[in-house]
């Protein structure tokens, strides 16, 4: 029997060992982990950052990227960038949307807060044709649609309280936006595309969208920008904005979660006490597998 056990253990060891035979497949490096105000159990969106991020989206990204699932009214809803209803109404009026009038012909009208952001191209084919054959991805859930592999054992810690990590998507977006550089020597660039350190395969169709000082941020009393007008800052802000766009109820979710979990812990404690009282009547109970307990007789 000992031989059989050794054989079984050997098989498993061989199974694990053989995985190291796998060839390296030249993955892009993992994005650096950034600090986000909305990370963790008590994370909250920074309203000013979301407003700046929206400014970056509006002035730069929105030229090519749609955001079909987000409505203007969302910008004024709780847990978001916190624009006022009047600001949102004024903003919506700067956009125009198409609709059919009573005679059945298409006409344009000013957008209302209830309308969703109109896409920059009339349809996907037009978007693809204008962007080298592939439509730029929609922004609505993009922050949740991107990630990178963390690998063992990190993925275990990512699920736990205090070491939890669910910002892979925004970290990747931030890394991508700041990851444009010259192709290293010996890297053969195809005819079109740009080198990006963090893009899988390194050749990305999107040209570097951000440059230093490109966007004018709000000023403080002294007439200086509230935050630096750098690519690093723009990229942080727009990634945070995308996190909100992908998960507009995140703050409500985390706040409710805290109350639900505290309630469940208190309830579990009370139930445990009741259970102990009830089982006392028959002299208690045994727990766990306890093979050793059973073996003593």
């Amino acid at each position: 029997m000992r031989i059989a056990l050794l054989a079984a253990a050997g098989l498993l060891a061989a199974a694990l060992g053989s995985t190291s035979l796998r060839a390296e497949d030249g993955h892009a490096p993992n994005p650096p982990r950034e600090k986000w105000s909305f990370a963790g159990m008590f994370g909250r969106f920074d309203q000013a950052q979301l407003q700046r991020g929206f400014q970056v989206y509006k002035e730069v990204c929105a030229n090519c990227h749609s955001m079909r699932l987000v409505a203007f009214r969302n910008l004024a809803e709780a847990g978001g960038p916190g624009f006022s209803a009047a600001q949102v109404k004024a903003l919506a009026e700067t956009y125009s949307v198409k609709e059919l009038d009573d005679s059945g012909s298409e006409k344009e009208r000013a957008a209302r807060p209830a309308d969703r952001f109109p896409p920059p191209f009339p349809n996907d084919k037009a978007a693809a044709a204008a962007n080298g054959g592939k439509a730029p991805p929609d922004f609505s859930v993009l922050a949740k649609a991107r990630t990178y592999e963390r690998g063992f054992p990190w993925f275990v810690f990512d699920a736990l309280p205090f070491t939890g990590y669910s910002e892979q998507g925004v970290d990747y977006i931030h890394a991508l936006l700041t990851g444009y550089e010259d192709a290293p020597k010996g890297f053969e660039m195809p005819g079109s595309g740009y080198y990006n350190k963090y893009y899988p395969g390194h050749v990305i169709a999107m040209p570097n969208p951000l440059s230093e000082g490109q966007i004018t941020y709000p000023k403080n009393d002294k007439g200086e920008p509230v935050v630096p007008e750098t690519v690093e800052q723009y990229s942080h802000d727009v990634a945070a904005f995308m996190a909100w766009a992908a998960e507009p109820h995140m703050m409500a979710r985390k706040a409710l979660g805290l109350r639900v979990i505290l309630f469940l812990i208190v309830l579990a404690g009370l139930l445990y006490y009741v259970k102990k009282q009830i089982w006392k009547k028959v002299g208690g109970e045994v727990h766990g597998l306890q093979p050793e307990l059973h073996k003593t007789y």
Partner: protein, 430 residues
């Protein structure tokens, strides 16, 4: 009727209760199954997962029915209707995250339930039918979960559906017909979402039906327990209510904390980022990976270079569970008294976890070789280890009674609250 009914001590008191009970003894049935039913007093927390599973079946059905009110099962609108639920429906994000993570928690609970069953030999006589009904529930759960994962119509939904329906086509003779029936056309498309939604709504009710049979069979044979020996006297048992009821409720609430953690703080941890990209038939994701609970079987599927062979082994890996009662030759049920098989049980468990890890890796190089070794061991456990260890192993001495495992031999405990004779195993009764 069932012998569970025979244990009923329910006596209707009011006039209307007497009137009803003499026409349909429903209250008596519930009373005998969930109040007076004798439960071995040595059950540990691994035995609360049945109650946890029933709670999750309820949660999935309730959240699912509500989601169905807002969901649009069409290729054009499915993705957007899910986002509509997430953004515009009041607490829609809660419903959807509860339903998606509820499926994962359902599988966490069912795997604990299955491995508890394997450890304590609960599948062995006289509980074979109870066990087979459990295997059927597990199969139905897998089908339901697969169908449900296709509904958001993201990239992983679409390509998961494509991979699974394609492997069904490998079944000889009827494969192509099954595939066309599932597709509703010549590829995965709009009719596929329609019928997957319909089937996803149907299967949980079938699960609920088989669960009723599963509970019925349980109450005929009585519960197995960590000692693996039958209830011999009323002192070995306690009545289901309040003892098992309060323990189950406590365990369900503790498990809900884990569930709530995922809903509120890691809602997308167990999913795939690719499923937030709308389905696109012309772009294949870099890695098509099923949900975590299918990964061991996915590793087995890909371990075989031949398509049909892979399909046979993958389904075989689930179906072989059904033969466990007859492959296990040991006369002792519980691994607590099986010093050799107990080690093999943990090796099997480790092997299953490694298979799951391999299922998430790309099918290349060493991962394929490792999957092949682990697949071979998976089947060897059932076909070689189970029969042989049972024949050659010398089990430890079994305790004289369940009570003895709680108190030690010869000592006494206060009464169980069971009426004398009510707790004997059915075979011994009458």
């Amino acid at each position: 009727m069932s012998s569970a009914h025979a244990t009923s001590t329910y006596v209707p008191k009011s006039h209307i209760a007497k009137w009803f009970e003499s026409r349909l003894p429903l209250v008596g049935l519930v009373h005998s199954s969930f109040v007076a039913f004798p439960v071995p007093r040595n059950l540990n927390y691994f035995y609360t997962f049945g109650a946890i599973l029933i709670a999750f079946l309820g949660i999935q059905i309730i959240t699912g029915v509500w989601l169905a009110m807002h969901y649009d099962p069409s290729a054009a609108n499915a993705f957007e209707s899910v986002e509509h639920i997430m953004r515009d429906v009041n607490y829609g994000w809660l419903l959807r995250y509860a339903h998606a993570n509820g499926a994962s928690m359902f599988f966490v609970a069912v795997y604990v339930h299955i491995f508890r069953n394997l450890y304590y030999g609960s599948y062995k006589a006289p509980r074979e039918v109870l066990y087979l009904l459990g295997v059927i529930i597990y199969l139905l759960m897998m089908a339901t979960a697969f169908l449900g994962y296709t509904l958001p119509w993201g990239q992983m939904s679409f390509w998961g559906a494509t991979v699974i329906t394609n492997i069904l086509a490998a079944i000889p003779v009827v494969g192509d017909t099954i595939q066309s029936l599932l597709w509703g056309g010549y590829s995965v498309g709009n009719p596929t979402v329609n019928r997957f939604f319909s089937l996803h709504f149907l299967l949980p009710w079938m699960i609920a039906g088989v669960v009723v049979l599963h509970v019925w069979a349980l109450h005929v044979t009585g519960q197995n327990n960590p000692a693996g020996i039958p209830i011999k006297s009323s002192k070995d048992a306690v009545p289901f209510t309040p003892y098992a009821t309060i323990k189950d409720v406590f365990a369900v609430v503790v498990f809900m904390i884990l569930f709530a953690w995922f809903i509120f703080y890691q809602p997308n941890y167990l999913g795939h980022a690719d499923n937030y990209v709308p389905a696109n038939p012309s772009v294949t994701p870099a890695h098509i990976v099923p949900e975590w609970y299918f990964l061991p079987f996915y590793a087995i599927l890909r371990a075989v270079p031949d398509k049909l062979g892979g399909v046979v082994l993958m389904f075989g890996a689930v179906l072989i569970l059904a033969f466990a009662p007859w492959l296990d030759t040991s006369r002792v049920r519980s691994c607590n008294y099986r010093p050799v098989y107990r080690i093999f049980f943990w090796v099997f468990t480790a092997n299953a976890i490694i298979l799951g890890w391999l299922g998430a890796k790309p099918p290349e190089g060493g991962y394929v070789i490792a999957s092949q070794i682990c697949t071979a061991y998976y089947f060897a456990h059932f076909l070689i280890v189970m029969p042989l260890v049972g024949l050659f192993e010398t089990p430890d001495r079994l305790p004289g009674s369940i009570l003895e495992t709680v108190t030690g031999p010869g000592k006494q405990l206060s009464g169980s609250g069971m009426p004398a004779g009510a707790a004997a195993e059915p075979a011994k009764r009458a």
